[in-house]
């Protein structure tokens, strides 16, 4: 049963206030949001910070619900929130087919190169021209996460097997 203590220690060491691993649905999204909101409320977080964290969480969670690739019968993904003295960290990880990695990297790299005004212009040009996809997305999630976060998005793609990888995404929101 050592893993229980190890997991507890890992969470404390990384200041993780919430970790969810498993299936992602709209109902789960609402529950995770409600827990994170309660946590921020009870610690008396500034409302401007709460709103930005909530915003980034929604896009992150709905990204997984809509886009996580079904890889080898394993649909599970992970979502966590860390709370440091100076910022909140919103992290997600989900399986992705290897052929989708390059497109995703290019999209996030493009966003990370833009400043505040560049992101605003990109947002406006996408929203004017986009149609809602079959999956229900507007193609605006990462841009919005970058705007609300005010920081660059971090990513990594550790390999699962020869067909798939694990897409890790990290966004941070500064505390005032």
């Amino acid at each position: 049963m050592k893993y229980i203590f190890d997991l507890h220690k890992t969470m404390l060491e990384n200041n993780l206030i919430l970790v969810y691993e498993g299936e992602f649905t709209q109902e789960i999204t609402k529950s995770v949001l409600a827990m994170a909101e309660r946590n921020m409320d009870s610690s008396g977080e500034e409302s401007a910070v709460k709103r930005k964290v909530f915003n980034v969480m929604v896009e992150c969670l709905q990204n997984i619900v809509k886009h996580a690739d079904a890889v080898a019968n394993d649909h599970s993904a992970v979502f966590m929130i860390g709370k440091q003295d100076n910022e909140y960290i919103i992290i997600s990880g989900n399986p992705i087919m290897n052929e989708n990695i390059d497109g995703l990297k290019a999209k996030i790299d493009q966003i990370n190169e833009l400043d505040k005004d560049g992101l605003k212009e990109l947002y406006k040009s996408i929203i004017k021209n986009t149609e809602i996809s079959d999956k229900g997305g507007a193609g605006l999630g990462f841009v919005d996460m970058a705007r609300k976060s005010g920081n660059k998005l971090g990513y990594d793609f550790p390999t699962l097997d020869d067909k798939s990888s694990f897409f890790c995404l990290k966004a941070s929101v500064a505390r005032l």
Binding site: A34, A48, R51, K52, N55, G136, G137, A138, L140
Partner: protein
């Protein structure tokens, strides 16, 4: 014309569209699982309203939060309102919510409708 009245939930906004009483309001949180499906009745209602609109219409948005998929549909709603004579938008935002204020400004730059900004 029928009233469209939807109670708000934790992930869908309250909708009140009432031609007779001159109430046109979308308020609360908008992060539905399927934003296109959620907003379709609103777009249908506006389409019918546009056939015989009141001389002037003040359409109120008082949103606490909306996700990106909803933002696309809100733009679709605004685009549908754009063709109606006498249309104006009341965009409410919480007084310390700069992001919601900026979101309203961006929408106002994307459609040709007068916007009035108000805090609550």
């Amino acid at each position: 014309m029928d009233i469209l009245n939807l109670e708000g939930t934790e992930d869908t906004p309250k909708i009140m569209l009432d031609k007779g009483n001159g109430i046109f309001e979308i308020s609360g949180r908008s992060l539905p699982e399927d934003s296109a499906e959620f907003y379709q009745p609103v777009l249908d209602w506006i389409e019918e309203y546009s056939q015989d609109a009141n001389p002037s219409t003040e359409f109120m948005f008082k949103l606490e939060y909306f996700n990106t998929a909803s933002s696309k549909l809100i733009l679709d709603v605004l685009s549908a309102l754009e063709d109606i004579d006498g249309m104006s938008i009341m965009w409410y935002f919480h007084e310390d919510d700069e992001d919601m204020e900026e979101a309203g400004e961006e929408f106002s730059e994307l459609v040709e409708i007068p916007f009035e900004f108000k805090t609550y």
